[in-house]
Symmetry: C2
Subunit: 146 residues, 2 copies
DNA sequence: CCTTGCCTTGAAGTACACATGAAGGTTTAA
DNA sequence: TTAAACCTTCATGTGTACTTCAAGGCAAGG
């Protein structure tokens, strides 16, 4: 498939696909005799992988290092393991930050209900949760920003 | 406390704190008689909140909108809820992407062990996990990129 | 009095991750 | 054969989120 089709399939712009190839986030793409990119499913999968990691907040630079390690054939496993573990720690910390922020937003959402919209059922649900999370609520701060 | 102390306390640069104030991500900061910022714990909490949301991928623009709604006295809870839910969805997707990446990386780490370093215990742990995750492994793709 | 070290504002510079534009090549369709 | 609709590379532009710089003020120590 050509780059436009790949773009439509992945939701990544043609320019971004070219950029990813240039930055080695995806492998070198085969060309047709006239020089156009001919993109197969393996590339599509890689583009989707890049999208996922980017969406999760990984920088191009880190992502390239990660993929280099992933693709490496040589048996430099010691360094690879070290770098992968480092990367893993970064990602786990980010995930935990994200989870903390999600918890915060959920708390907020559940504890400021809209009088205009709340149905009986919603109110009951809120009250139930409120009862369950008293200790959590106790920790809630003065101004709502921790 | 002065801006430098606040910076050290939060890990956010002085310039960034000034920037956040200018962009209304944190409230206007009180000044000493000579005009220097005098930062209290309420501001510190807000800075930390901003840091967390930024780290979670919220843009300055969205964050400002969110905080404006938050601080508003009018009963605009309907909009607030909408904005919160929107942001929550974004963050949950990011978290799931990150988790997928973490799983991916853990899989990689566990299946290319270093002959030079593995202890008996580590090997047993890997084998155990391997046995537990057969179905997951079955789904592992050709090139490892989904 | 002068240096050190903090602070201020405002303007300008920087890094990242693309987006856009210029100049040109190929293929299909009227 | 001429236009449309793709494509290529290379260069330059853009938005975001700061960072850095310039010019200067205030307070303490030597």
């Amino acid at each position: 498939m050509n780059i436009k089709e790949a773009s439509e399939k992945t939701g990544v712009s043609s320019a971004a696909i070219r950029y990813y190839e240039k930055e080695s986030l995806i492998p070198a793409i085969d060309r047709t005799p006239v020089g156009n990119r001919d993109i197969d499913d393996r590339i599509i999968r890689r583009i989707r992988f890049v999208t996922q990691m980017r969406s999760a907040g990984m920088s191009i630079e880190n992502l390239r290092r990660y993929i280099e390690l992933f693709d490496a054939q040589e048996d430099n496993t010691k360094e690879q393991k070290a770098l992968l573990k480092e990367q893993l720690a970064v990602m786990e910390e980010k995930r935990d930050d994200l989870q903390a922020a999600i918890d915060h937003l959920n708390y907020k959402l559940n504890h400021f209900y809209d009088h205009m919209e709340s149905t009986e059922a919603e109110l009951r649900a809120l009250e139930k949760e409120h009862a369950e999370k008293v200790d959590h609520q106790e920790k809630a701060p003065d101004d709502g920003f921790y």
